[in-house]
């Protein structure tokens, strides 16, 4: 068979060139036109020619620009968007002509189909994740590690965090790891004098270093991490945000996990909140995290799907981090983006059985901007990775992983928006019984939509319920029944994110930390 191909292929291509040689246009022109229209098939991009530029001190973007969210409107993105739109319209027209379905019905059917498959996808992932063991080690194994451990670097990117400095200082110094084998790099913006003063006030040990960031744009957390990267000496790297309290033995567990699983490039730990009981918002936030870190991510790992990592408490091998070109300073969810790039580079991600406690944003003032940033980052990550969709499909491990990416990243955004749309539609229908809504849903599609919507909403809520129960947060359970209200907030944040993508795609709405401390003080 291979021999046949070897013989036939040159014959066909030479014949092809002969035929086109007779035409007034050359093959080169034809190729140029083809790649102008189908730009998303044309790779590698010219920005990739120079490889990673770790010397870039202008904006600390080490990646080729085509892999960054620095610019969003590339010829590739426009081309792929147009292609997808044409494909969709063609499908709509074909269905219309073949089955005489109305355009609106086809669109509402497509939405219902997406919703249904999304529900199935999530249920399948959770089913796989529910019984999948995290990477864990016994106390004996951890104790046996002794002092024979590699150098570890802890990045602590801070901005206006004076209030929580005592807490992070205590949390970091409580980490059970040989002092001479661990270094802490705190990054600060040059104008953040309050945090600097707070750091000086707590008398940190010698292995803490404060790195003042250069006054360049963008002023984002991933840029701070990229700046710190060249100063790091560790074989492994972990990021802890200002308010994090990790398990004391987390680094030792990570070392054991990296040793036991050489194919793993990064480790994700479970996140929990120390102020979960603060108010209804923190309770629902905690339920969401319980689902995400206990059921969803383990399922993604079990299935070998790309994992959107979290912004802190993620442990990296230093060589893997450099092999990926470090973080994208322009992506406002650099964590999600780096998870995808890890997968593209063929590194595995492990779920470590260790917990980092963080502060759940407890007011809408801080929750909405934080979630807006996350959703905006998901949009950015979708745009960046889909610039060359076929190449992405190949690198990420085939069509199944590609589809998984579509559901995990852009799918999450679409789902949030669709939920919003569905609720509004239902509200209008039940209050006005407007006929135009009826036209959107011919009987078969109506049944399918209602079924998907009901089953989906119940399944998503129930998965949160189950996750909270498994975490033995029994007091929270009854509040999880209010999860649909939380989705309304999610939808609002997603709409806001979409708006920001147009107006200020790189703006970073800083999450305010320390409200739990203020609350403690107030109650004291």
């Amino acid at each position: 068979m291979e021999r046949m191909v070897k013989i036939v292929k040159p014959l066909i291509s030479s014949a092809f060139e002969e035929v086109f040689g007779l035409l007034p246009i050359t093959m080169r022109k034809l190729r140029a036109w083809f790649f102008f229209v189908f730009k998303f098939l044309d790779h590698p991009h010219h920005s990739e020619a120079r490889g990673y530029d770790f010397e870039n001190s202008e904006d600390f973007l080490f990646l080729p620009e085509i892999h960054s969210a620095k610019k969003h409107i590339y010829h590739e993105s426009v081309s792929v968007a147009c292609f997808a739109a044409v494909l969709f319209i063609a499908a709509v027209v074909a269905l219309h002509l073949t089955f005489d379905f109305s355009t609106l019905a086809i669109v509402s059917g497509a939405i219902a189909l997406f919703y249904f498959t999304f529900v199935i996808f999530k249920l399948y992932v959770v089913y796989k994740g529910a019984h999948y063991p995290l990477i864990s080690f016994s106390k004996e194994e951890i104790d046996a590690l002794g002092t024979d451990v590699p150098m570890y670097t802890v990045f602590i990117p801070l901005l206006n965090e004076a209030e929580v400095i005592p807490q992070i200082a205590e949390a970091m110094t409580s980490i059970d790891y040989p002092k001479e084998k661990i270094e802490y790099i705190i990054t600060l913006e040059e104008y953040d004098h309050a945090t600097l003063d707070a750091i000086k006030a707590v008398n940190l040990p010698d292995n803490f270093r404060v790195l003042i960031l250069p006054d360049t744009k963008p002023k984002t957390k991933p840029k701070a991490l990229n700046v710190a990267l060249s100063h790091a000496k560790g074989q492994y790297v972990v990021i802890y945000d200002a308010e994090i309290i990790p398990d004391a033995d987390q680094l030792k567990k990570a070392v054991l996990a990296f040793r036991a699983h050489p194919n793993i490039g990064a480790l994700q730990v479970r996140l929990d909140h120390y102020n979960a009981d603060q108010n209804i918002l923190t309770k629902l936030f905690n339920a969401e995290f319980a689902f995400y870190y206990d059921l969803f991510l383990p399922g993604l790992q079990k299935l070998g799907f790309p994992i959107p990592l979290s912004g802190h408490s993620t442990h990296f091998r230093m060589d893997a981090l450099k092999d990926m070109g470090a973080w994208d300073p322009y992506n406002v969810t650099e964590d999600c983006d780096i998870g995808m790039r890890l997968h593209r580079k063929g590194y595995g991600v492990g779920m470590l059985d260790s917990v980092s406690l963080e502060e759940a944003t407890s007011t809408l003032d801080s929750w909405i901007p934080q979630r807006t940033r996350w959703m905006k980052g998901f949009i950015q990550t979708s745009i960046v990775h889909l610039r060359h969709p076929f190449r992405f499909k190949k690198e990420i491990g085939g069509w199944i992983n590609f589809m998984a990416f579509l559901y995990i990243v852009p799918g999450t955004i679409i789902l949030n928006l669709l939920n919003f749309l569905a609720w509004i539609t239902q509200f209008v229908w039940f209050t006005t019984e407007a006929s135009f809504i009826q036209r959107l849903y011919p009987p078969a599609i109506l049944y399918f939509s209602v079924f998907s919507f009901l089953v989906g909403n119940f399944a998503f809520m129930y998965m949160n319920l189950l996750a909270v129960y498994r975490r033995k947060r029994y007091g929270l359970i009854k509040y999880v029944l209010l999860t649909p209200l939380y989705w309304v907030l999610l939808a609002i944040a997603t709409v806001r994110a979409a708006k920001q993508m147009i107006r200020s795609p790189h703006s970073w709405e800083k999450t305010k930390h320390g409200s739990h401390l203020r609350r403690k003080e107030a109650s004291a």
Partner: protein, 534 residues
């Protein structure tokens, strides 16, 4: 060792369940008894109308019967062969029967070991009434399987404290609560028992609250969906309870006819349920169950073995039916009491798993006694069969809604099968399900209450909408057309048998044979020409 035995017995139970199911179904289908009862046909029609009709769709599921069995029949009901033979529904019952036997075995096994499970499964599966019911499209077997599945997983949760078992139990309750209203009460009772179990074992109120929420959210999803459905389609979440064709509506018409003897009369209600139970279970099983009950109560109150509570829980069904018969929400007729008919005796099938388990756990404790009890019970089953004393089968044939009562509809349907040529047929499908079924005329040619707009139009001016009218004494069409008199101007009565009459629109180009015993005066118009044509 026990595990090894358990594994052997479980395969044996599965093999026996499968074989018995196939044999029983083959016999019942060979004797053409699967669709004997009116409810069997109505079940099949309900599902068929979703895919076949003037306005097909899920709205055909209506509001009276819970939808899970009808929905699960859908993959097969579109096939004429599976629909008219009833196999679309029978297969569902057969699968449910095998699962029910399996679940019962597992429940007995968890409570008192594999021997208890084996005894219970055999006693349940070999009961002739169980065997007949698993050979029909009725929903009882489906419900029993779902209910036993829910109970088994709840019991597994109690034993292993794994929350996933509660989730599985909740999922099984979704099917149970969407197949019969008994499931709603059983779900409530199970939630109460789970709470009680947690209270007795841990006294951790937060955990109790959380567990109940986790369980009840899933277990009550079915009722919630059904209420939503009723609200969405009929503008009233409780329409299933108060609608025209609801149980209440039926009981009202029965009460008007003086057919609700047990309403408000507790001794009568107890007597009806007792006779039904005795006829379905047999004396031997009932007597052995009493001893089993005493043993189980001893295990609970003296030995403090709380898992036996899950066996007792099945008794909720008995209380439910006694209360329902007493309150007039359900009706059971037994031949021993007025009005000396057979109706809904099959409800007592719900009690069989309880009796089987009670005997099973007793038999597991006293092996020799267990074998003796099993032999006696099976012998009585044999006598039931030999003496042609399978009461559910008799109910299907001779009962209040049985084949004999359906005879006129069946004959009418068969006549149409040979004479229908074209056009729409008006029928009040409620209580006349056998007509379309026996006619083999697809539902897309039938105008009935499932398409209210068309049905209303046909009632106003039948000659503009339909070519045929089927009416039965006292049905809504009969009442509308005053026994056919109003039809006489435009329709000829072409068939009459007992209480059924079939009319055909009068056409100039074609003379029709007019039935000689039609009650209305269509003979005036067409009898002569009909005879001439003959």
């Amino acid at each position: 060792m026990i595990k090894k035995h358990s594994s052997h017995i479980k395969y044996l139970v599965l093999i026996i369940a499968f074989m018995v199911s196939v044999i029983a179904t083959s016999v019942v289908m060979y004797l053409d008894l699967a669709n004997a009862s009116g409810d069997s046909i109505a079940r099949l029609n309900l599902s068929r109308r979703v895919v076949d009709g003037t306005s097909p769709g899920f709205s055909q599921l209506g509001y009276v019967w819970l939808p899970a069995p009808s929905l699960l029949m859908l993959p097969m009901i579109w096939s004429d062969a599976f629909y008219y033979s009833g196999f679309a529904g029978i297969l569902l019952s057969m699968i449910a029967f095998v699962l029910a036997g399996w679940f019962l075995f597992r429940i007995g096994d968890i409570v008192a070991g594999p021997v208890a499970g084996g005894f219970a499964a055999l006693i349940f599966m070999l009961n002739p009434n169980t065997l007949y019911m698993q050979s029909t499209p009725l929903s009882e077997m489906f419900y029993i399987a779902a209910m036993l599945g829910a109970l088994m997983y709840a019991l597994l949760w109690a034993r292993y404290s794994k929350e996933m078992y509660l989730v599985a139990s909740g999922a099984a309750f979704l099917f149970a609560t969407l197949s019969r209203y008994d499931g709603w009460i059983f779900a409530i009772a199970t939630v109460c028992l789970v709470s009680l179990y947690l209270y007795l074992t841990s006294r951790d109120f937060r955990k109790m609250e959380a567990t109940v929420i986790l369980f009840a959210t899933f277990a009550f999803l079915g009722p919630l969906l059904w209420l939503s459905w009723n609200y969405a389609i009929f503008d009233n979440p409780f329409y299933f309870a108060i609608g025209e064709y609801s149980s209440k509506g039926q009981q009202e018409s029965l009460a008007a006819a003086g057919f609700l003897p047990s309403k408000g009369d507790l001794p009568s209600a107890l007597a009806h349920v007792w006779y039904a139970t005795q006829m379905v279970s047999g004396w031997a099983l009932l007597i052995c169950s009493v001893f089993g009950l005493l043993f189980v109560l001893r295990q609970i109150f003296v030995k403090k073995q709380l898992r036996y509570l899950f066996v007792i829980l099945l008794g909720v069904h008995i209380a439910y039916y006694i209360l329902n018969v007493f309150s007039g929400n359900a009706v059971i007729f037994v031949p021993q009491l007025a009005p000396y008919l057979l109706f809904n005796v099959r409800y007592a099938l719900m009690f069989l798993p309880l009796f089987a388990l009670l005997v099973g756990v007793l038999g597991a404790r006293f092996h020799r006694l267990g074998i003796l009890m099993l032999v006696i019970i099976l012998a009585e089953y044999g006598v039931m069969l030999i003496n042609d004393n399978v009461v559910t089968l008799h109910e299907a044939i001779e009962g209040f809604a049985g084949a004999q009562v359906n005879e006129s509809r069946l004959q009418g349907g068969k006549w149409l099968r040979g004479n229908y040529d074209k056009g729409l047929i008006l029928v009040d499908v409620f209580n006349n399900d056998a007509v379309p079924f026996a006619s083999h005329v697809p539902f897309k040619y039938w105008v009935h209450t499932g398409d209210p707009a068309l049905f209303g139009a046909a009632l106003k001016a039948p000659e503009r909408v339909v070519d045929w009218v089927v009416l039965r004494e006292k049905d809504s069409i009969d009442e509308r057309f005053r026994g056919g008199e109003w039809l006489a101007d435009n329709f000829d009565c072409v068939y009459s048998y007992q209480d059924i009459e079939i009319y055909h629109i009068r056409t100039d180009e074609r003379s029709r044979i007019v039935a000689s015993d039609c009650k209305v005066g269509t003979q005036r118009a067409g009898a002569e020409s009909g005879r001439e044509a003959l």
